[in-house]
């Protein structure tokens, strides 16, 4: 794994905008950054990223089985008790999942370590699937990347295939939703809608605020059409607690991601995975705050709220002293403490985190985000990668 400086395309803005990539610059700051890229060997990709991601996914499934049978675990994960049966049903029915992103610390030396699992509402999808793919093709054509280079990225074709298989019979009608006012979220949902169209689905969109409830218990979109299958880029832990939370079980709606993903997007997962497989090469020691075993953690460790997104409220501590933190609204439900990764890729004061994509639980893509601090936040920049021939 190397970080290599590469001349950006002189017209990169036009090139990425022709793909419909609207959020290459966020709040005036560069988000899509092609002034450098990460180079991997095929062995690094397959041995250190792809294979462990599959192993971790299987471990996560084992955890779900364990959690659904344990009121103690569900309570510690701060899952509202009135939704336990709803989550159990979704798992027992075998409701399929679409995608997720495992965030990994990896520097090319030794095994990748799981930082967290964005299993419910991951973004950075369109730029991973399409924009960096196009960058690679153009880079080879321009001669700035070696001919025969490749990329760990079959996201696009996997997403289309996954949409076809999410519900029987297919094609079916699919609604998609996200909050109003976030270009990044809307861009992600628009891309998934595009994939769903290519999977021949009948695709509708409504903002989450427009969703209504019909007299017969089903949800409906802004045009009052019943929602049978809903992709929601909106966290389960919020849906459980909002007014319509009580209507979920009676809605006869298949959600994507399915309710059982709420158990994986929770940082409590990290403590349970470590408990299930202590010493696993791809895991970092992690415990719930207050657990006496926290005393066994490294002096340098990270405090993460159970519910946190985009690095919000995550704190990096060294012997109790705060080194880095990000403010945010999370934390009321509790915290997990996790050893700080010692293999975070770092160069010139920049830190890179790998995002290993899974579609329908199959590892099939990679993204890298870089930040000036060890906590990857929503200010991080996206850098493309390639596999050396």
């Amino acid at each position: 794994m190397r970080r290599v400086a590469i001349a950006p395309r002189p017209d990169w803005i036009q090139q990425v905008e022709r793909l419909g990539f609207a959020f290459h610059t966020i709040d005036g700051e560069t988000y899509w950054d092609e002034s450098a890229a990460f180079a991997f060997t095929l062995e690094e990709i397959e041995r250190d990223i792809e294979a462990p991601s599959e192993v971790i996914e299987q471990l996560c499934f084992a955890f779900i089985e364990k959690a659904l049978a344990s009121e103690q675990i569900l309570t510690q994960l701060a899952i509202p008790a009135q939704h336990w049966d709803y989550i159990r049903d979704s798992w027992q029915r075998g409701e399929r999942n679409l995608y997720g992103r495992l965030d990994l610390a990896y520097d090319g030396r030794g095994p990748a370590k799981v930082l967290e699992y964005n299993a419910d509402t991951p973004t950075a999808l369109f730029e991973s699937s399409v924009v960096q793919w196009d960058w690679l093709e153009q880079g080879m054509a321009r001669g700035v990347l070696p001919r025969g280079a490749d990329q760990f990225n079959s996201l696009h074709e996997r997403l289309i295939a996954a949409f076809q298989g999410l519900r029987e019979p297919s094609p079916y009608r699919l609604h998609l939703t996200c909050v109003e006012g976030s270009a990044e979220d809307k861009g992600t949902v628009d891309y998934l809608a595009d994939c769903a169209i290519q999977a021949e689905l009948d695709v509708r969109f409504s903002y989450i605020e427009e969703i209504g409830l019909l007299a017969d218990g089903r949800f409906c979109d802004g045009a009052n059409q019943p929602i049978e299958t809903l992709f929601k880029l909106y966290p389960w832990e919020w849906m459980f607690r909002e007014q319509y939370g009580a209507a979920l079980a009676g809605s006869r709606c298949q959600f994507i991601e399915p309710p059982w993903k709420a158990l994986l997007s929770n940082k409590g997962l990290l403590a349970y995975l470590w408990e299930m497989e202590p010493g696993h090469p791809n895991l970092l020691p992690a415990f719930f705050e207050g657990d006496p075993r926290c005393a066994t953690l490294a002096a340098r460790h990270v405090r993460k709220p159970l519910y946190s997104r985009e690095g919000a409220n995550v704190t990096l501590l060294e012997r109790g002293k705060v080194l880095d933190s990000d403010d945010g609204p999370y934390g009321a439900e509790g915290y997990v403490l996790q050893d700080a990764a010692t293999n975070l890729f770092s160069e010139d004061g920049k830190y890179a985190v790998l995002g290993s994509w899974l579609v329908a639980s199959q590892p099939c893509g990679l993204c890298l985000r870089e930040d000036a601090s060890p906590i990857t936040k929503n200010t991080s920049r996206f850098l493309p990668h390639f596999i050396e021939p």
Binding site: E157, D185, A223
Partner: protein, 206 residues
């Protein structure tokens, strides 16, 4: 190969095709695929001469190995409308599947012969396959969908092939939105989701 073979975006109206891709039927068997001699020559992986050699090898192999039919109808039943052409073999006229592309093993120092790629057979196009090569018998479906006036556009394309031995090779995707009639029911409320996002003004994704 670890990346998608091609990417179509209905909304942006673009279709991106990898300059060359390996076929994952057998991962250890890395191959290059081109749809035409020109594509090979502009692809940059092979020299002009290597491309011409590969192309003529594939052309010859197609004549020799492709299934031969006495009638256009029989051939098109397997390879679709416009999927066949006539060939004069040993003085007799046959209908054989068209040359849709060719592939050759990468890095085998030219010792392996280029293989012809034919249009996909009915076997390579399972029922419901969205690939346009598989839709020759069907009317193409397209249309816009409802929602909040979001005009999700429709058309896109795909590549599927078969080999002379009948193996199917596909680069997935394509299609169009289909409208469906929808029953409505009376609305009892609206806006029961989204309150936490509003109160936090925080990111709901990661």
């Amino acid at each position: 190969m670890k990346r998608s073979t091609q990417i179509g975006l209905a909304a942006a109206g673009v279709l991106l095709v990898a300059t060359a891709w390996s076929l994952t039927g057998d991962d250890s068997d890395e191959s290059l695929v081109y749809n035409s001699l020109g594509e090979c020559q502009s692809g940059g992986q092979l020299s002009l001469q290597q491309c011409e050699t590969a192309f003529s090898e594939a052309t010859a192999a197609r004549l020799q190995d492709a299934p031969k039919y006495r009638s256009q109808g029989e051939c098109e039943a397997q390879y679709g409308a416009n999927g066949c052409s006539t060939a004069n073999i040993g003085g007799a006229q046959f209908f054989i599947p068209a040359l849709a592309g060719f592939m050759l093993a990468r890095g085998l120092s030219g010792s392996a012969q280029a293989q012809p790629l034919l249009p996909p057979t009915t076997a390579a196009c399972p029922p419901g396959s969205p690939q346009p090569e598989c839709q020759q018998a069907r009317s193409s479906s397209s249309g816009s969908s409802g929602g909040s006036g979001s005009p999700y556009g429709s058309s896109s394309r795909s590549r599927a092939y078969s080999t002379t031995s009948g193996r199917g090779l596909t680069a997935a995707f394509a299609g169009g939105a289909r409208s469906a009639s929808v029953r409505t029911s009376s609305v009892s409320s609206r806006g029961g989701f989204g309150s936490i996002a509003r109160s936090f003004s925080s990111h709901s994704s990661s």
